[in-house]
Amino acid sequence: MSLLFIAWRNLFNRRVQTLITIGVVAVGIAVTLAILLLSSGIKQGIVRASEPFGMLVGSKGSSSQLVFNTIFLMDNPLANLEPEYYESLADDERVSQAVPFALGDNYEGFRIVGTSVSFFDLKARPVDPAYFRLASGRLFEQPFEAVIGAKVARETGLKPGDTFVSAHGVTESREQEEHTEHPYTVVGVLKGVAAPSDQGIYVNMESYWLGHEHEDEHEGEVSGENGATAGFENSEAEHSAEERGVTAALIKPKSYTDLMTMYQEINRGKDAQAVFPGQTLARIFDMMGSGEQVLRIVGYVVLGMAGLTVILALYGATVERRRTVAILRAIGAGRAEVLAIVLLESALVMLIGCAAGYAAGYGLAYLLTGYLGEFLSISAPIRFQAGQLSLVGYVALAGTAAGLLPALSAYRTETARYLNAS
């Protein structure tokens, strides 16, 4: 009969206490691990979602807002870029790819993005396949054809051949003005990329502009009814440059030098700002850092409390264990063997607790990732990380070491004193 078996039997004999201790260790590990996994996963997910977009060019204003409404389809869009400005960017010989990006309407809260088919050629890296790929149907070819993101298809039930009517504004509201004159026909559905772009409805720029021209007609009529002087003819004439503009331009220069030169040129000018999403995200991460730090501290505190519980449980058990130790000594167990049995008990508790906590930590992180994916379309990839395994290993070692105190107490147990207790 091995010492391990004796340790196991002793634990089984105190199974309620053992299970509670294992549970506390597991919860401590799971919470800490889930926080660590999620914080690094969310960062990776956000960075990955921004990769295909290249340099963003939008009107002057908040760079974070530009990143949020272009990449995350969140927040209100900045003012439009002048069409001439966009054309000059697209025609710049240093640019290898320019993709227009315009926001304005929504369907059931999902933003409608005016863009060109070149949007679907965007790649995270030149060697990568296109980031946006069709799951079914085809790309849009004419106005009022729409390609919808995977989440839009999933939540609205739209499929190729279906039609829908957009509503004005970037968010859903109770009294929305619907563009019933120009229903969109779904022609394609994109494969899910577990990114905010899954929540987009992509139409060509013509659709976007025509929709808004009609919107202006509508607004003109309403104004006329109210006695204002502006009428349909005026609005037709006032299809200003801005109305044919874009919210942002996604620019991929030919070389790194071109990228940096253009970045500086654009930001020096008065018309627009150029933003590297990575840079803006790094700033956002810095802001999030203090919150993340607090969460980490919470995790470590939970872990510390779990450690104290283990010490308390093991130490409490030594009082009960004294008689067992005395019996073991009387039937021939040496002090070293008794010490080993108690250390094995704490090692087993920590091993099982850490293994359960490790699995639960990943499970919790996956659940929370699912929640983030479901509600924010931010994919937080949860991957095995050796660093976290070593953290769990250290915790297991520390917990086992915590068993030294009761083990030494068992080691010093006066055998004769406890043998006659009944």
């Binding site: 009969m1 091995s2 004796i6 039997r9 002793n10 089984f12 004999n13 008689r323 067992t324 005395a326 019996i327 073991l328 000594r329 009387a330 039937i331 021939g332 167990a333 040496g334 002090r335 070293a336 063997e337 055998t415 004769a416 043998l419 006659n420 207790a421 009944s422």
Partner: protein, 238 residues
């Protein structure tokens, strides 16, 4: 086989005084002999058994078992020596909680290491069968009656084929009928295994059945006391 000479055990008290608990001028047992230490409660019977088993160290004197001076052994050596050569039966049974009858016997074999691992299970079953528990091998201690628990304790004491079995009030927790059965099993099992038996009891009838009654008070080292002669007589190997 067992020789005690000028053995004493005292416990220090505050103020520098010491309380004598055990005092033995000379005591000896031959291999396979059976004897009973008798005396009232608190007379030091259990302490003397602990001294012989090496669980306690004497304050002075010499204890030799199988020719080995126990005082010369390190604590680890003494643990190993006890595991191999001494079996212990307690008044309160002292079975390992949560362990089955067979596991209790095998645990002792694990520490003794005299029985090859592959033979341990078979031997545990044989010993438990010998004390009439062949049908209770896998029952845990709390599932056994007091008499059955003491029988497991007897089987465990004999697990490593010890030279000496120490039994501290082995029948004190049992009713009359059970006490008779358990003593008979203990004596018979020790005889079959070739182990000497030294038991402590305050039951004179039981003590007489061993064939040698040793009143603990008469072991005290008092040269002027004429009981010394009796002690020496008792200490001669049979």
């Amino acid at each position: 086989m067992l020789v005690l000479e000028e053995v004493s055990k005292t416990y220090p008290m505050k103020g520098g005084s010491a309380v004598p608990v055990v005092s033995v001028s000379r005591f000896a047992m031959a291999a396979g002999e059976q004897a009973a230490l008798v005396g009232p409660s608190g007379s030091g019977k259990s302490t003397l058994l602990h001294l012989i088993s090496g669980v306690l160290r004497p304050t002075s004197g010499s204890i030799q078992l199988l020719g080995r001076e126990l005082g010369s052994l390190s604590e680890a050596e003494l643990d190993r020596f006890r595991a191999k050569h001494i079996g212990y039966v307690f008044q309160s049974f002292n079975l390992l909680p949560g362990f089955s009858a067979a596991e209790n016997v095998m645990a002792a074999m694990g520490f003794g290491r005299t029985i090859p691992a592959r033979e341990r299970k078979e031997r545990a079953h044989m010993l438990l069968g010998r004390v009439g528990l062949g049908h209770r091998l896998n029952h845990r201690s709390h599932q056994l009656s007091q008499g059955e628990q003491q029988r497991v304790s007897i089987a465990r004491a004999l697990a490593n084929r010890p030279a000496l079995v120490l039994a501290d009030e082995p029948t004190a927790s049992l009713d009359g009928a059970n006490a008779q059965i358990v003593y008979a099993l203990l004596a018979e099992a020790c005889e079959s295994e070739g182990a000497a038996l030294l038991l402590s009891t305050h039951d004179m009838e039981l003590a007489k059945r061993t064939g040698r009654v040793v009143p603990i008070r008469e072991l005290a080292a008092r040269e002027e006391d004429d009981r010394v002669a009796a002690v020496h007589r008792l200490a001669q190997p049979v």
